[in-house]
């Protein structure tokens, strides 16, 4: 069960009683092919995933919520109410499809373009919006830039950092702990094509292979690392094939196909739970927006590429699938999107009205206890504020 963003719960367990995966989906795939379950017109190509209507609609609503959250944050940033945001348009199916294969007891080590995974498992837009405004109710207490979320419930969505690839070996370590204690849990770590060039990618996959750690590596190949296309990132024929050198399975998935993402992740998760070790999933997708609100992708992404991928919009594809199931109409889509906007609008109201963190929050959580030198520095800052007034805040705009 996952808590929905509107507070309801929905039955979206990954341990659905639908029998062996092979029976459900056919034989496991290899690195060579691109797994697709839903054709671009929404027709089911593979075996029926046998998801309940509730579960399918929860996936759909979550994708809509991601897109609505993006849309609202872009407006907030452009109007100067928040400093920064990271758009997700185009990669919603990667996030939600992968998240749907996890249980609440699993851990997610995300990148900064993954918050659909948190929404799927019941983190609310209000909790997220507190982070976007960096206010006193932000779990990071305004210490991080927006979109650097941290949640420990209802699923471990581990605090995001800006350095790339660092979360990859961390997920392996967390998975080692699960294995050592004999827990049936899995750690999933998500990262982009650019992160495959980092130290963390190499050490993470290498350690996981040696340890047979219950971890799933999800590489979202969205075409660009800020402005650098994948051809400048690697000469490899794919990212998935890199798994071979680490002695682990690697699969390529149509990242704009939610059901394919779910299938591939579920297979990888089941493999990990069985004790058969890690999997690298390459989700082939496309970042339809900029790297961030500070980025202008028209400077480096060819228009034709954007137009070609717009036709593969993961949300539209899932709508066509739902339509064939008689679960979707244009009116329903518009109504649910309006509901999502309304919900996020409420979150904005709450978050914007929440005060900034207090000055002492600078000095807490550095260590478990505040050491003497930080107490002195804090006291000096409070005394100065009392004598000379508060420091003036900047305009909050991230200048890049």
């Amino acid at each position: 069960m996952a808590r929905r963003y509107d507070g309801r719960t929905v039955d979206c367990r990954s341990e659905a009683p639908f029998g062996p995966l092979e029976e459900l989906y056919g034989p496991p795939m290899t690195a060579q092919e691109l797994l697709t379950v839903t054709a671009p017109d929404g027709t089911l190509q593979g075996a029926d995933p046998k998801l309940s209507s509730d579960e399918l609609l929860h996936c759909y609503r979550t994708m809509l919520m991601v897109r609505a959250f993006d849309d609202v944050c872009l407006k907030l940033q452009r109007s100067g109410r928040i400093g920064f945001s990271i758009p997700n348009k185009g990669v919603e199916a990667c996030q939600v499809g992968a998240a749907s294969a996890l249980r609440a007891s699993d851990w997610i080590f995300p990148s900064y373009r993954d918050f659909g995974m948190a929404l799927y498992h019941g983190v609310t837009p209000t909790e997220m919006m507190h982070n976007m405004f960096g206010n006193d109710l932000d779990t990071a207490r305004g210490r991080q830039m927006p979109v650097h979320f941290s949640f420990d419930a209802p699923i471990h969505f581990v605090s995001i950092s800006s350095p790339l690839g660092t979360q990859i070996p961390q997920a392996v370590g967390a998975a080692y702990a699960m294995k050592l204690r004999g827990e049936p849990h899995v750690a999933l770590t998500s990262f982009g094509d650019g992160s495959t060039s980092t130290l963390g990618f190499h050490s993470g996959l290498n350690f996981a292979g040696v340890w047979k750690a219950p971890v799933v590596f999800l590489c979202q190949n969205n075409g660009y690392a800020i402005s650098c296309p994948t051809s400048e990132q690697t000469a490899s024929e794919s990212f998935a094939i890199k798994a071979k050198a680490y002695g682990i399975p690697g699969v390529r998935v149509d990242g704009n196909d939610l059901l394919a993402m779910r299938k591939a992740t579920l297979e990888a998760v089941e493999r990990a739970r069985r004790g058969d070790g890690p999997t690298l999933i390459e989700a082939v997708t496309f970042r339809m927006g900029g790297h961030s609100t500070s980025d202008d992708p028209t400077r480096y992404v060819p228009k034709e590429l954007v137009e070609a991928w717009a036709k593969k919009d993961p949300l539209a594809r899932f709508e066509r699938f739902l339509e064939k199931r008689k679960l979707w109409t244009k009116e329903l889509g518009e109504r649910l999107y309006a509901e999502a906007l309304e919900h996020i609008g409420q979150a904005v109201k709450v978050a914007e009205a929440t005060p900034a963190p207090k000055l002492e929050s600078i000095f807490s959580d550095v260590y478990a206890d505040v050491p003497a030198h930080l107490r002195r520095q804090g006291q000096a800052a409070f005394d100065l504020a009392a004598r000379k007034g508060d420091a003036g805040a900047g305009d909050g705009k991230f200048p890049l």
């Binding site: 779990t139 070996p169 370590g173 702990a177 050490s203 993470g204 350690f207 040696v210 478990a368």
Partner: protein
């Protein structure tokens, strides 16, 4: 009470911690069946099994990256970096990750891990088996930096570091691994972090030092005593967070201060001690603070005895501040 060398005391601490707490793990390069290149982890794999003391692939980034993940998920990893000179591939995991998890998650996530690493010169290790990198880590809020100088402290401070809820860089002066011996209590005990140790009482000049420089400074103090200068030698033991009050108190006692470390001088730890004194108790000082340090050069091999502060250089500084 058994008499142990420092490396034996480290080994004793690891065994004591692992017997006491099943969540304590030891891993790194060659720490398994071989027992570590300095034998600090000898016998651990045999007693605790390969799941709790094991060799890793040769990747410092991987060792610390996975240690961070283990610590996030309830284990207490004690990772070994074979030589502190090789820690830099893991710098990102230490500085950007381990040191910041608690802060950036508002306390939701924390990384109680210990990184043990031998540091310092005196073994003819040249550029890459001799460096003292404490300043890199002392400049990072969220870390604790601990350096013992006696076997008894090595055990007590290591056990305290393993018990600590925050990430600790535990730097072991490899020059002292087998050259110091003392009685070490059996069983579990901790030496509190962020406390100073008086290595030698005295009234005329205060010498601040840590790690392998402590016995050097004590020797220099003995030679100074022959010349009628009575030195107080203070072993800092925990560089971050430092017992600043204790340092100021010890400096006030004599009004004359020498700071000694092997690491290069510029932006070195001695500068912080000097600034602390200048900012807070300048009116108590009878002489400028003198620093005796490594040179601002890479660490040489053949001439390492010229690079490393010795009793001769420390005594020279003591005489200088005493006669000022």
């Amino acid at each position: 009470m058994p008499t142990l060398t420092m490396v034996q005391a480290v080994n004793d601490a690891l065994k004591t911690a692992m017997r006491r707490d099943k969540s304590v793990l030891v891993f790194g390069e060659d720490v398994g069946p071989k027992g570590g290149v300095f034998l600090a982890t000898e016998g651990l794999t045999k007693e605790f099994g390969r799941e709790r003391c094991f060799d890793t692939p040769l990747s410092e980034d991987g060792i610390i990256g996975t240690a961070v993940g283990m610590a996030l998920n309830g284990l207490k990893p004690v990772a070994e970096i074979q030589f502190q000179d090789f820690i830099f591939p893991a710098f990102d995991q230490i500085v950007s990750e381990a040191a910041k998890f608690r802060y950036r998650s508002g306390g939701q996530y924390s990384t109680p891990l210990v990184i043990r690493t031998p540091y310092g010169g005196g073994i003819r290790g040249g550029l890459y088996h001799s460096q003292s990198g404490e300043a890199y880590f002392c400049h990072t809020p969220g870390l604790k930096v601990v350096i013992p100088s006696t076997p008894e402290d090595a055990k007590g401070l290591l056990l305290a570091s393993i018990e600590d809820p925050d990430p600790v860089i535990f730097m072991e002066p490899k020059a002292l691994y087998r050259t110091t011996k003392c009685e070490v209590p059996e069983g579990y005990y901790t030496t509190p972090l962020s406390t100073l140790r008086t290595a030698r009482p005295g009234q005329d000049v205060t010498v601040f030092c840590y790690g392998a420089m402590v016995p050097v400074c004590v020797r220099a103090a003995e030679q100074a005593a022959e010349k009628g200068i009575d030195c107080l030698v203070v072993d800092l033991r925990t560089l971050l967070p430092l017992d600043e009050e204790g340092v100021l108190e010890a400096a006030k006692q004599t009004g004359r201060v020498v700071v000694v470390h092997e690491a290069p001088r510029f932006c070195g730890y001695g500068g912080e001690i000097s600034a602390l004194i200048a900012e807070n108790i300048i009116e108590y000082m009878e002489a400028p603070v003198a620093r005796v340090t490594g040179f601002d050069t890479p660490f040489p091999n053949t001439l390492e005895h010229h690079y490393m502060p010795d009793a001769r250089r420390v005594l020279d500084a003591i005489e200088h501040v005493h006669g000022f």
